[in-house]
């Protein structure tokens, strides 16, 4: 593992922790939270597929596969991109700034819920 990768992983974990704490103390009424439907999350997620593969699954191309990654990691990474706190990032900060924090959180949840490898095609009766 390269040093920058370690640094990014540490930053992501720190971000995840901060996020957990922030949410633990968030206003329980959740008034400032705009609900994001799963439909909206999947619409945004489809734009991720152009680089991260259909359903966020890729076979070793140098761009990370994101299906089935822990939600907290995905969310903190997306928010770190949005806040320009992700060392060495290239296009991701420019892309995630097109979405709200709530949308990014919903996208993180969406990919976390997918299996990292595709399921066998369902058997036709």
């Amino acid at each position: 593992m390269r040093l920058t990768t370690v640094a990014i992983a540490v930053a992501a974990l720190a971000g995840a922790l901060a996020l957990t704490l922030r949410h633990a103390g968030a206003d329980p009424s959740g008034e400032d939270i705009v609900p994001v439907s799963n439909d909206r999350a999947s619409a945004i997620a489809m734009t991720c597929a152009n680089c991260h593969g259909t359903d966020g699954r890729l076979e070793s191309t140098g761009i990370p596969s994101i299906a089935g990654k822990p939600e907290i990691v995905l969310r903190s990474q997306l928010l770190a991109f949005q806040r320009d706190e992700y060392p060495g990032a290239t296009v991701m900060p420019r892309l995630v700034k097109g979405y709200t924090e709530e949308e990014l959180a919903a996208v993180a949840r969406y990919f976390a819920a997918l299996k990292p490898t595709p399921e066998e095609p369902s058997q036709q009766p």
Binding site: N50, T54, E59
Partner: protein
């Protein structure tokens, strides 16, 4: 509009489609919004980034839907990365993708050219005379050239001065000419005015030609004669050219008499607006463009030659029931890129499924990332996120933009590596290529 009679074969196929659709929808596959579109047919014309993606996602979102992809080529070669082929960084075959994976997903592939569209009768006619009915039609026709609009540049001229703006024999011809060119020769690229396919394309192309010259023919020159004064990622290209190729690439914008008005393909000469003659050893002319011809046949183009669309769905403004995606559309500020065509396809697939179910289209979102490779270790990008605001397409404020100027070598190197990774990923997302 012409009407076609329903052939017997077609009538039988249609009857069959109802049964198959209902059967699939009853299976265990996820059905979009718990709705079944069994028996309804969406035909897609064009198997590039837009059309192949649309067919794939329609089928994934609604397995019961009858999805037919009409594309004459059994193997589709992409425009993106043909410049890397020209620069010697890739083999031509690595740009080819087939439709086996789409077929496995249940998309019906019709390897024919669609020659006409009857919007009223909701049918399309194939080159072999057969016809096909549809409930909704997606056109992803790409571009055609306005032959002869640039004086001296007709179809025959392209045999001597290739455009190589559609991949295939033209790309191979240009590569061969570069290989045969003596060291010390001049490559001239003629770039068109906006709008045209792949806005950063001419600038990546001269970069890749310069890369080939630098490694094999270092005394050669690259001259880019441009009908514009500004171009995509301009600062980044100029910086990258200087850093990688010194003075090898000369760009001449419109106000410095860069606009070519006449081409002599036999002599490999071009004449600019104010009468200067430039002689090339290899001449590459990117001609003015318009929507692919089937868009004209379908009646969806306007006087500009491109296709106006409803921003939210990309349904034609002129012909209801026909949706148009990709390079053929007027979708500014989105560029005419493969990436954009892919995201347009997904939005339009969802809009059509909503429409078939009698529902409002979902809120759309589109993205773009265009990688350009200036040298093997030097990549740059422009990215954008788009939305509908007050009934118009726009870039989401605060999003998007280009790579930073003056970035460290490591940053450029990673964007070059990501460019290759992106190509593999979008080929997988579009055609299922591995």
């Amino acid at each position: 509009m012409k009407k076609f009679s329903l052939s017997r074969r077609e009538a039988l196929k249609r009857m069959g489609a109802v049964g198959v659709g209902a059967f699939l929808a009853a299976g265990g596959l996820p059905v979009y919004g718990n709705r079944s579109h069994g028996g309804q047919r969406v035909a897609v014309i064009g198997g590039g980034f837009g059309g192949a993606t649309a067919a794939k996602y329609l089928k994934r979102l609604s397995p019961g839907l009858d999805v037919v992809l009409v594309e004459p080529q059994k193997r589709y070669y992409t425009c993106p990365f043909t410049n890397l082929y020209l620069g010697g960084m890739r083999e031509f075959e690595t740009l080819g993708h087939d439709y086996r994976e789409l077929s496995r997903l249940g998309v019906r592939i019709v390897s024919q050219t669609a020659v006409d569209v009857d919007a009223e009768g909701r049918r399309l006619r194939l080159a072999d005379g057969d016809s096909l009915s549809w409930d909704r039609l997606i056109l992803s026709p790409g571009i055609d050239f306005r032959w002869g609009e640039l004086e001296g540049y007709g179809r025959e001229a392209a045999d001597k001065a290739p455009h190589a703006w559609k991949p295939g024999p033209q790309s191979r011809l240009l590569r061969r000419q570069l290989l045969e060119m003596p060291d010390g020769g001049t490559f001239v690229l003629v770039a068109p005015d906006n709008p045209f396919r792949c806005p950063p394309g001419p600038y990546e192309r001269v970069s890749m030609v310069a890369h080939y010259f630098k490694t094999h023919k270092p005394r050669s020159k690259v001259l880019l004669l441009d009908a514009k004064d500004n171009f995509s990622k301009q600062g980044l290209f100029l910086e990258g050219w200087k850093e990688n190729y010194g003075d090898m690439i000369e760009w001449v914008g419109r106000s410095n008499d860069g606009r070519v008005v006449r081409v002599n393909a036999d002599k490999l000469e071009v004449e600019t607006e104010f009468g200067e003659i430039h002689r090339a050893n290899v001449l590459n002319v990117v001609p003015p463009q318009k929507a692919g011809f089937i868009a004209d046949r379908a009646g969806v183009t306007d006087e500009s030659g491109w296709v106006p669309v409803q921003p939210r769905t990309f349904e034609s403004k002129q012909v209801p029931g026909i949706y148009v995606i990709g390079d053929a559309t007027q979708a500014a500020p989105m560029p005419k890129s493969g990436f954009v065509a892919n995201t347009q396809a997904k939005v339009t697939a969802r809009a059509i499924l909503a429409d078939l179910a009698g529902e409002e289209p979902p809120e759309p979102t589109w993205t773009n990332t265009c990688y350009s490779v200036i040298a093997p270790d030097w990549g740059i990008t422009v990215a954008g996120v788009y939305e509908v605001h007050d009934g118009e397409l726009r870039e989401v404020p605060g999003s998007g933009g280009v790579s930073p100027m003056g970035a460290a070598a490591d940053f450029r190197k990673r964007e070059a590596a990501y460019a290759e990774a992106w190509y593999a990923a979008i080929a997988q997302d579009t055609w299922g290529s591995r």
